[in-house]
Amino acid sequence: MLSRRGFLASVAASAVPVSGWAGAGNPAFIAAGKSADGTFVLCGLTHAGTIAFRIPLPSRGHAAAAHPVRAEAVAFARRPGRFAFVIDCATGAVLRQLTPPDGHHFYGHGAFLDGGRILVTTENAFESGQGRLGIWDVTEGYRRIDQIASGGIGPHEVVRLPGTEVLAVANGGIRTHPDHGRDKLNLDTMRPNLSLVSEGRIVDQLELSDPKLSIRHIAARSDGTVAIGVQSEHAVPRPTPMIVTYRRSGDAVSLGEEFSMETQGYVGSVAWSGDGTRIAATCPRGACAMIWDGAQFSRFDRSEVCGVAPFRADLAFTDGLGGFFRGTEAGRLPVQWDNHLVEVTT
């Protein structure tokens, strides 16, 4: 358990002055991708649509967590990952390599707490199959200090609810084991949930009525409303929600059943627009993103679209062809963007 004492101790530790995000060429986003020469990279992207920095990765990345103050990002390997790199986004230097404890692997996402003093990583304790949140003390050079239950099997994305120290954890429900690569081992019994975690305890949990809907990607709005991007594991495709919204102790709202056949029931990423009025769910298998404005869906047709993040009041998207869309601006960069686009919030 991450104890209250642990939290307080980390709060008390004063942060060492370090270079902030301005030194990294003012990136607004970070994203993993593949360069034209076939190598894997982590890039910073600017509001203007350019690449601010480009750092080589040893293998395919998945997502990253941007430190809220320092120009640092933690880049996660694609699951089942045994590495996460802390990268100095101003210089491109790899500051640390994070390795999960024996018997664990990373699931590809992480989040910062407590003004950037704590890093939380989603992990699989693969012999038991139990989901874990790894806790790392940033102020002590990303020292592993604790681990807690994620509240389910297969925790994938974890985000902090804005303005709080509460984590939302997407427990996808799907058991995997490194001996079986990426095979899904428990589709008949899967029970995904969204867990809210505060001070090391699970304080709220949402299960959907259909247990075959994996909860894997989430995004939180400033008021704590979580948007869930759903992935259907039904063998025979059927209409299923693509987005579910949920706020602590409230009712879940399901959206987008009418599109699930063409999107193959698969949402790759989800994000709120910067002004909090819209939710975008990217659907790379349907070559589109669906955008809910509170009353109706609009659609953005684009092959390989998968990354999405807030952009000013609007939304930004990246895709596997190199496309980078910012509000009404569009351009292509010489990197094939992998699953996620992560906003740098400073």
Binding site: Q264, G286, R302, E304, L321, G322
Partner: protein, 320 residues
Amino acid sequence: MRVFKIGALLLLGLTTTAGAGADVDAALDTHVLPGWERFAAATETLAGAECSPDALRPAFADATRAWAAVSHLNIGPAAVEGRARIILFWPEERNATARGLRLLIQQGPDAWTPDLISRASAAARGLAGLERLIWEEDGAPCDLTRALADDLSGMAADIRDGWTEEFADLMRTAGEAGNTRFLAEDEAMATFYTALLTGLEFTAEYRLARPMGTFDAPQPMRAQLYRSELSQEIIVASLRSLRELARVLVEAPRTMASLDRAVALAEALDDAGLQGVADPMGRFRVEALQSAVRDAHMIAAVEIGSLLNVTVGFNSGDGD
């Protein structure tokens, strides 16, 4: 106007980012649009066929061959509403087609309206459901067969119209201002290149690999549409169509030779329902075809990939 002509050609040469000889218009006009038109026409004929095995079976076979020739074009209007997946729901698991049909039959004629059919199990709709009704039940109940054929024909017409009214123009205007679907011409080419490779992969790793199973445990009942003995014809029609696409995409002699070989082996297979996988000699022949299709895939990926110099994404093919 000779000078002007040369100027236009030079300009064309400079703006064709997708490589020499690559031609999106040619692919659309000689391959894609005629293919969807044939499929729409064939399914319309099937929907209008008398409810007798003698009328339904050849019409079903025509529609299936027409489908095989466009089955690699699961893009744009074919992906809308999951149409391509519904048109031939395969591979199926857990006998989903039979279960879906049983439910429709239990529900009776009231459930066979266009609206309710469009919400029925994807596994019961399209060619998969029709094959069972036409080959195992001689088309009975006729109203259900008709309803499923109408539903199929409606999807085919919607795909054709989607291509002719919108999606073909989006591909032709790739790279023009306002076209965010295709930001550059090479993206339209990449779409066809991906379709070619996924089509070959699907035949090698699904249409052939599934019935092959393992040497000790072949799985003839997993062949695609083996009840109507169209498994081989589907493969032949698909490979011929992929060869046609490769021909219009770019001059690629090694790819053409490998596709010629795969087509010849498929045509010579003499195993309509791929049931020969159950004995060693038959399996050997199917395996030889599979190797030829895999070779064609490998050669096309290298040869056409380097000629077109296109980028192929990975987000639509995998998940996390």
